[in-house]
Symmetry: C2
């Protein structure tokens, strides 16, 4: 008997819908056959491939970098939102909104070369620990989704991340955590500038927002980076709605899936009321649109990658 490649998925409609879709598009001569080059699948990252609670991982990185860099910035003691972060007053920090967040990103993510930033992220992700599970954040990748990525790739799908997260932040761990190489990661970015320093060419990260890969700009990012419409998309919030709609709206067999965080015991239960990640339109319209709705509680018998070790 064949080992179940999707062993962490309980038998049920979602698992069956995945298996059926993949069988249809890979059956040579069948009506829904899709040639290998067009087998493109796109995955949101935060909340879809790994945990995003109690805070998205890159936001934790930003906050910890503010603490780490504070000695070089005495002015932050009097300047919001830095002052509040240094006082661990996240409520006040959050009041600064997107403008405050961008200010903190620019204070922690730019000015260095791309190689230096890659090192900073790799060092951080190797040592940082999740507050609830006391494990590296990369251990909190979802085991069912890792199995799904491998299942698709074994059937000649090319898997991409399409996330609002920073593209170079994610690229620092995407290959080792998800088996997704840097060139298959689409995300938000700052500008970079080419310079030759002492005969060595470098790219220096600039304090400009180059692209914010969220909501209606996810299809834009997909088109820019991938240049064709994927046949399968996986998300968990309304930030992914346009991406799911764009993918599902193509001709031929299409697959769209939403991961619903409804498991407070093993992970978290949130949807309409989450702060940074809201799922409302997707919950309301997804089922009518024929999208596959995954209940973490019902459909996954294991949640985190470390539980499969």
């Amino acid at each position: 008997m064949e080992t179940d490649a999707l062993a962490s998925w309980n038998d049920g409609a979602p698992k069956q819908s995945i298996i059926d879709f993949v069988r249809r598009v890979t059956t040579a001569g069948g009506p829904d056959f899709v040639p290998v080059p067009d087998r493109i699948a796109v995955f949101d990252n935060d909340g879809t491939l790994w945990a995003e609670s109690p805070l998205p991982v890159q936001l934790v990185f930003v906050l910890e970098r503010v603490h780490a860099l504070a000695p070089q910035h005495p002015e932050w003691k009097e300047k919001q939102p830095f002052k509040a972060v240094l006082e661990n007053d996240l409520k006040t920090a959050a009041a600064s909104g997107m403008a405050g967040l961008i200010e903190m990103v620019m204070a922690t993510h730019v000015g260095m070369t791309t190689a230096e930033f890659d090192s900073i992220v790799k060092d951080w992700i190797a040592t940082a620990r999740h507050p609830r599970f006391k494990r590296p954040y990369t251990d909190l990748a979802y085991q069912p989704m890792l199995e799904l990525l491998a299942y698709l790739r074994a059937r000649d799908f090319k898997t991409f991340i399409v996330s609002g997260g920073g593209i170079e932040f994610m690229r620092s761990f995407s290959a080792t955590t998800y088996g997704i190489p840097p060139e298959q990661v689409v995300g938000s970015s700052v500008g970079t500038k080419y310079q030759v320093r002492d005969g060595k060419p470098v790219l220096v990260r600039q304090a400009t927002v180059n692209f914010y890969d969220d909501k209606a700009d996810k299809p834009v990012g997909i088109n820019t980076f991938i240049g064709r419409r994927p046949i399968a998309a996986f998300g968990n919030s309304d930030g992914d709605f346009a991406m799911l709609e764009w993918v599902a709206g193509g001709t031929g067999a299409r697959f769209a899936l939403i991961v619903h965080h409804d498991d407070a015991d093993r992970e978290w239960a949130y949807d309409r009321h989450a702060g940074l990640s809201t799922l409302a339109r997707g919950l309301d319209e997804g089922p009518q649109r024929g999208w596959t709705m995954v209940s973490m509680k019902q459909d996954w018998n294991r949640v985190f990658a470390y539980e499969a070790k």
Copy 2:
């Protein structure tokens, strides 16, 4: 005896340098071995993979689209550079410089959906003929470079185009002409906007320059799209200099190559004095930097793809 995979390359230093480099980076256990995921090679398009004379192909497309769309734009009869183009007075049209070119690109490349633009380009490229060779432009891909692309891919390199040309223009023929899929094409782009029209999601091309992938921005484009430094780069003009320098400047075995157009009989002879494509710094510094200089006249026994049919 093995068939020569690089049969259109004459024996000589350039051919040998390619073979030696590839052998070094693919020899397991050797000092210069490069794991498969890092075997990234980037190619300029115009003048490197196909002919760019007497005019770059996309510029011919722009000019022919101006003629085709003129009936819908009576005002062009009195407006430069359109007036000059419609009168086939390219000298006057060229005097409008980059601003005039961008105006013509915006008049011919935007306003439609990405799918519509793809159809327009595919239709044009299937029917347009090169003025000297009376053949489709895609027949004027360079046979030695097609062999090189296949040679590298057979040794587990991933091949990318990195060109100042329009990303969606190139993507319309890159897979069939070069075997390079859309997601491995990096180029210049206009903005796009996501819309749902009568329930159908579309991306509409906007009259904004999103990215101009030339000169010092070629390494920027490489970093944005590929997310790692390639180990081999191929170009033909000073627009490729920064890309060649960026790639050659990494650690470990590196390869940089310049195609020199010095064959007036079979193709064209130009370098320092070409209008849109100038090779001066590359000719001066390339050899000292250890870059491979290819003479089309000396090193290629066949030039165009159609000659190998």
